[in-house]
């Protein structure tokens, strides 16, 4: 069991730092954003399982040959009113520290979600009073402001918002492309895809790999939404909308923002060939295997 603990520790560290950093630089991801997002979810889940699991496995290793057996021994001896003699301070501290890290991660995830829901509810309340429904597209609201912005408020009671500036600056077809992009964020619940990585970033902000992961996942959901929008409208309409809205955003003064925008425009215009189906299946198998390895190490 001590060997399994070591394996989990190595796997967790590798996934959290070099693997995340390396994968965030991969180029094939723009040809299969959905597959790449699955791999990111697998990296997050497997990394979390490994880092939290390694301490627990090491801590309980004197009590049995596998984690389920060790937990069984611990419960049995506890019920008989005895403290297992082989369970010394070092092992106890290792187990408690791991459980602590796991609890902290879940706590951050929970509080972050509650805070998000509260911010959204506040925003939605204001919207329902301030924004007027747009008759051309049911479910869309118009906010009376000259600055062009378009966004959506995810959740069970979702809202799609465009500012008057968007309707002013864009052609109707371009507005449809923007709405298709936002609808895909809503339908596929991209907010939930991003959330675990935001929580990881908040739990361990000092790990550079976490930040890379957060940025990469944010880029991938935009690629995915662009793909859906480009299917439902003409790609050049989406490009036109991106140029107009992006060019007038206050963030247009930032080089990273314009770089990201240009990369998106370039990607939509050149329309990279999707990965061959064999590669796409391979990516998904890798994602499943990534989660399976720490699970097996934990249980064996």
């Amino acid at each position: 069991m001590a060997l399994a603990a070591l394996g989990l520790l190595v796997l967790g560290v590798v996934l959290a730092e070099p693997a995340s950093r390396g994968f965030s630089k991969a180029r094939w991801t723009r040809r299969d954003p959905v597959g790449a997002l699955l791999v990111w979810q697998a990296i997050g889940l497997a990394g979390g399982l490994s880092l939290v699991g390694c301490g627990v496995v090491y801590g309980l290793s004197p009590l049995g040959d596998s984690l389920p057996a060790a937990v069984g021994t611990l419960v049995r001896e506890w019920n008989e009113g005895r403290w297992p003699a082989r369970f010394d301070a070092v092992h106890l501290i290792a187990a408690l520290a791991s459980v602590g890290v796991g609890a902290r991660l879940l706590w951050v995830l929970g509080t972050m979600y509650v805070r998000t829901l509260r911010a959204r509810r506040r925003h939605r309340d204001l919207l329902d009073v301030l924004a007027t429904p747009w008759p051309d597209s049911p479910g869309t609201r118009v906010l009376d402001h000259p600055q062009p912005v378009a966004y959506c408020l995810p959740g069970r009671s979702s809202r799609l918002v465009v500012s008057a500036g968007v309707l002013e600056a864009l052609e109707p077809e371009e507005v449809w492309a923007v709405l298709a992009h936002e609808r895909s964020h809503l339908r596929e619940r991209h907010d939930l895809v991003v959330l675990p990585f935001v929580a990881w970033g908040a739990t361990a902000p000092f790990v550079r790999g976490m930040e890379c992961a957060q940025v990469a996942v944010a880029e991938l959901i935009e690629m995915r939404a662009d793909d859906v929008a480009a299917c439902k409208s003409e790609p050049h309409e989406l490009v036109g909308a991106l140029k107009t809205v992006g060019g007038s955003a206050p963030a247009a003064a930032l080089s990273s923002f314009t770089d990201a925008l240009e990369a998106r425009i370039e990607r939509i215009s050149s329309h990279p060939r999707p990965l061959p189906w064999a590669a796409r299946i391979g990516v998904r198998v890798c994602a499943v295997a990534l989660v399976a390895v720490p699970t097996v190490l934990l249980l064996l």
Binding site: D125, L126, L130, C152, L195, A241
Partner: protein, 102 residues
Amino acid sequence: MEVLWAATGELTAREVQESLADRELATTTVLTVLGRLERKQLVVRTRDGRAHHYRPTASREDHVAELMNDALDGAPDRGAALARFLGSIPSEERRKLRDLLD
């Protein structure tokens, strides 16, 4: 809400009802709506003897500005409360953006 924004000071529920006289709303309806707006922190209620006075917490423009701030500040760490057409901006860059806007 429009009536309260149009008014310069505080209004009672009866005054709100009178301003909306053409819609023939029942007093209870007006009170229900005002109560809902109060719960959503869009209006505050002050008590003066038996009368309740309502006034908006902020002007229409301030609320729109608040919404636009939420929408433009592309912070991914605010829990992805909303998803923007232009995506989110990494944290260190956001600081520069704030400096630019100030």
